[in-house]
């Protein structure tokens, strides 16, 4: 039957039509694999303050403090109370293999007000640590 033959022919060539699609999909796959960086997700959503600052981290932070917009506080992905940070930092510093390079990263939401950050900085200071960095994001759009 004519209709049947036509139908069969189209079916057979289906895969050939997909080759350009696969080409494109493969290209996208390679792009995202090479250009993107896979990062660990933060325990809370944080929109960091925007800044023109360009400095990047050369090493991974030894301790990461995350402060969300709702003032929820996480230290190394564990929910913390502010007063417990000092003990945790002291213990982390004591067990660090390279104390000279020990540094603390604070990821705080840009909308957080500074009086929420002060106790955290105070705890870090009480723990005797001086290398602290705040995370920012490059300003987009208006530069």
């Amino acid at each position: 039957m004519k209709i049947g033959e036509k139908y069969a022919a189209r079916n057979a060539s289906n895969d050939d039509n997909m080759v350009p699609l696969i080409n494109v999909v493969f290209l996208m796959l390679v792009f995202f694999m090479v250009a993107g960086q896979i990062q660990k997700a933060d325990p809370v959503a944080v929109i960091p303050p925007q800044s023109i600052n360009e400095a990047r981290a050369t090493t991974d932070p030894n301790v990461e403090i995350v402060l969300g917009a709702d003032a929820s506080l996480y230290v190394d992905d564990v929910l913390f109370v502010v007063d417990d940070i000092q003990a945790y930092l002291e213990q982390a510093f004591a067990s660090s293999s390279n104390p000279d390079a020990f540094w603390v990263q604070i990821k705080a939401d840009g909308a957080i007000s500074l009086e929420k950050l002060r106790p955290i900085f105070n705890q870090v200071r009480l723990a005797g640590l001086t290398k602290v960095s705040l995370a920012t994001q490059l300003e987009r759009g208006n530069e």
Binding site: D15, M18, V19, L21, I22, V25, F26, M28, L29, F32, M33, A35, G36, Q37, I38, Q39, P48, P49, Q50, S51, I52, N53, E54, A55, R56, A57, Q105, K107, A108, D109, G110, A111, I112, S113, L114, E115, L117, R118, P119, F121, N122, V124, R125, G128, L129, T130, K131, V132, S133, L134, A135, T136, Q137, L138, E139, R140
Partner: protein
Amino acid sequence: MPLNLPQPKRKNAISLTPLIDVVFILLLFFMLTSTFVPWRLVDTPLSVSSDQQDPAQEKPDNLVLTLKQNDDQVWVDGQALRFSDQAAFQTLITDHNEGVFVIKAEDGVTLQTLMHLADRLKLNGAKTVSIANAFAMPESK
């Protein structure tokens, strides 16, 4: 005389559909997990001594800027200065070129406002901007 051989059958390669399925899943994974905007870092070195001196009093050339609200204004020597006032910032910075610009903040000021001010100062040529004082506990004042 043409041979009446049967047409060589085109070898049917493995179907591409499962391959595409897998590739699409990989693509989705990489699209969703990858980030293109790496975090930047602002160093805020802390002084260890608890009786920290006010850096504003150490050197006379240091300039204290105080943020009171998130209204894009900063107070310098009792005068309000708008962030958008480029000319005023420039004169301020050329007047205190060798000093440290110490930013202080009152309660309620957001981190973003603080960063905006630090950016403004840097963009207008300030060499040393200190934001660590904005994070100092108020009782040390």
